[in-house]
Each structure stands twice: as C-alpha cells, then as structure tokens.
C-alpha cells in the first residue's frame, strides 16, 4: 500500500532543516598526532570528537525551538525524543522517523561513551536528513507552499 503523503507548511519544514543544521554543526572530528617524541614507532593518530552530551543538549535545543513555535507538542508531561519530533511532523511510517530512531541509537551513550564510528555515522544520518528535506523545500518552491 502506498504511503500517504502529508501536506506540511513550508515554515515547518524550514524550521526542521534549520534545527538539523544546528545539530550537524555540533559534530567535529579532529585528528591529531600523539606519541613519544624521538621514537617514530610510538607515533599514532588520535581523533578527538564530539561528546555525547553535546549532541544530547543540541537535540533538546532543536525540539525546544519547535515546541516554542508550537510546531510540535509535549509527549504527555514529558519532553519529546528526537524521533518523537519526526513522528509528530511526518508520521510514524516516514523514512525520516526511521532515520531519527536510528540516529538515537547511534548517539545513545553507554558508560558516558559513544564510539567514533557511531558518531561519524550519526553525523551522516543528520546530513542525509537535511539533504532529503532541503530537496523537498526546493521542489515545493514552485508549488503552493505545502510540502510532503
């Protein structure tokens, strides 16, 4: 069965894209040399990268902005999760909601730690969500201002 396409205001999509860009900007991966001077065998590259708490708070800011603009609502008395935001806006069966759930899994810390591999993958997920939505905004510019 074909998925039902929702019609959403362009302003909502743009607010989501702007928020996702801010989350994307939180990610950094800095490669630097490490080791003992004088012994080339001991040199290796280390990567310092985004900490899970940076992403945690960036996602909260993103959802807060949408809550304040009344584009989404609270989940009962609780704060919505990242995937709740997409479920509310696009629906539970939308690809973006599935990507948001995958993102949550990647950045969920365990022992205060998220692996470099998962953090890189999380950044890619966010960037692909931005690309999908930006393309929709562009496609919808010639239309009535309603997207999806």
């Amino acid at each position: 069965m074909a998925k039902r396409k929702r019609k959403l205001p362009k302003e909502t999509i743009e607010a989501v894209v702007d928020g996702l860009r801010e989350i994307s900007d939180v990610f950094y991966f800095h490669e630097h040399e490490s080791g003992t001077e004088g012994d080339s065998d001991d040199y290796f590259y280390e990567v310092s990268y985004t900490e899970p708490e940076d992403v945690e708070v960036a996602v909260a800011e993103f959802a807060s902005e949408l809550l304040n603009k009344k584009m989404i609502t609270k989940k009962g008395s609780k704060a919505p999760s990242f995937s709740d935001v997409f479920e509310q806006i696009f629906g539970s069966d939308h690809d973006l909601t599935a990507k948001a759930q995958y993102f949550e899994g990647l950045v969920s810390e365990y022992e205060g730690y998220v692996s470099l591999e998962d953090m890189r993958a999380a950044k890619q997920v966010i960037d692909s969500m931005i690309s999908t939505l930006s393309a929709e905004v562009k496609r919808g510019e010639d239309q009535s201002g309603k997207l999806f």
């Binding site: 959802a63 704060a79 995937s83 899994g105 022992e111 998962d118």
Partner: protein
C-alpha cells in the same frame, strides 16, 4: 522464578517485535542477560527491555522497546568491563537467560568508572547551563532529573556498590535517602559547581512538582 518467567516472555516478544533472528542470535551468543528495571521487577509501563548479549560480535541496537548491547566473550574478563558501571550493574541485577554468571563475582566499580561518571556530569552541567535559556521547560525538567540521577549513580560507584535501576534511584530520592549537598560535593566539579548545586537543589526541593517553573531557576534564563 515469577520474574524469570516474565523476563523470558518479554525477551521472546522483543525478538518477534524487533524482527531479530532468534536462531542466529542464540547460536552466536554464549550469554544472554536481561538487566535494568525489568530484571529487578521495578519496571513501569513505558520501561524498555535491557539486554546484554555476550558472544562473537560487538554491536548495539536501541529502539523504544529494546536496548540491546552485544559484547565479545573475551571482554567479560577484561578489567575495563569488570570495573565498568554497566558490568557491575549487570553482575548484580542481571537475569541470565543463557549461560552462567561466571564473571559476575569479579565485578566492581573501578576508578575509571568514577572518572567517566564525573566527566559526564561536568560536561552535561556545562552544556545545560549554557543552553538553559533556549531550553523548553520540559527539557529543563528532564536535564535536572538526569543530572540528579547521574549524581546518585556516582555516589553508588564511589561506595563500590552496583548502581540500581532508575526506578529505585527515583524512589530513594523521593524518600530522602540521598543528601543533595553531599552528592554535589562528590562530583568534584571544577567549574559550574555553583549552578549545578542550584539545579539539583531545586530538583530536590520541588519534587514531584515542576522544577522548570521554579523562580529560583530564572537566573539561567537571563
């Protein structure tokens, strides 16, 4: 025994709901352990199922209903695992659905687990304080609760006691088992300590009402 049966039923339901291949999972894993609020019998209606699998591969999968962590068998013997917060918790509260708790008696709270917890508290405090004005009241509430729970977990680790599931932390907090000032003191924060004290103190004095509405916290919104 009653809880064991419940936990087995939940695991079997999760395998179906998450479309996991039971046969290949059970073949490749030497231990399957349910931990957290479900194993301790203190879960709520929205609690997920926490499962640790020990076997050939390292992986994790988190969905609203299942939090699955897979580690390699050799890791169970490592000081990093035995001394970790999660390893210690699983050893104390885990229910083994497959395999035996052969490593559980060697688990403890290593200094590294304490260091990691202090780092997380410091970093989260710093970020929450600097973003306070942008956060919706529900997120202010959430982070106040998160910080309070993390301080409680640190307190357990410092005492070399396994951290209990979250519902037990909440119950003990409401019952006044924890001393707010001592918890904050034990975090040994280099910066932002004052603001953290305020945040946690507010969470303590206003529970179960809404922390975010407390006028004393308006300082962060300015």
């Amino acid at each position: 025994v009653e809880n064991y049966s419940k936990v087995v039923a939940l695991w079997e339901r999760s395998l179906i709901e998450e479309q996991l291949d039971r046969y290949s999972l059970e073949q490749s894993m030497t231990e399957i352990i349910v931990f957290g609020s479900r194993s301790a019998g203190v879960s709520g209606v929205h609690s997920d199922l926490d499962v640790l699998c020990v076997g050939r591969t390292r992986a994790k999968r988190k969905t609203p209903k299942l939090d699955l962590i897979c580690i390699r068998s050799e890791e169970c013997l490592s000081p990093e695992w035995l001394g970790s917060e999660l390893g210690f918790h699983v050893a104390q509260y885990g229910i083994w659905l497959k395999g035996e708790p052969w490593w559980a008696k060697s688990a403890f709270a290593a200094p590294e687990a304490v260091r990691r917890k202090r780092r997380r508290i410091a970093k989260l405090t710093e970020n929450v304080v600097s973003s306070w004005a942008k956060l919706h009241p529900v997120f202010r509430q959430r982070f106040s609760t998160t910080l309070r729970r993390e301080l409680q977990r640190l307190d357990f680790l410092l005492k070399n006691v396994a951290v209990p599931p979250t519902p037990i932390l909440d119950r003990d907090w409401t019952a006044g088992v924890f001393n707010c000032d001592m918890l904050v003191e034990s975090a040994q924060l280099r910066s932002g300590a004052h603001k953290l004290v305020r945040l946690v103190a507010m969470a303590h004095s206003t529970l179960p009402s809404n922390v975010a509405q407390n006028p004393a916290l308006q300082e962060f919104a300015e």
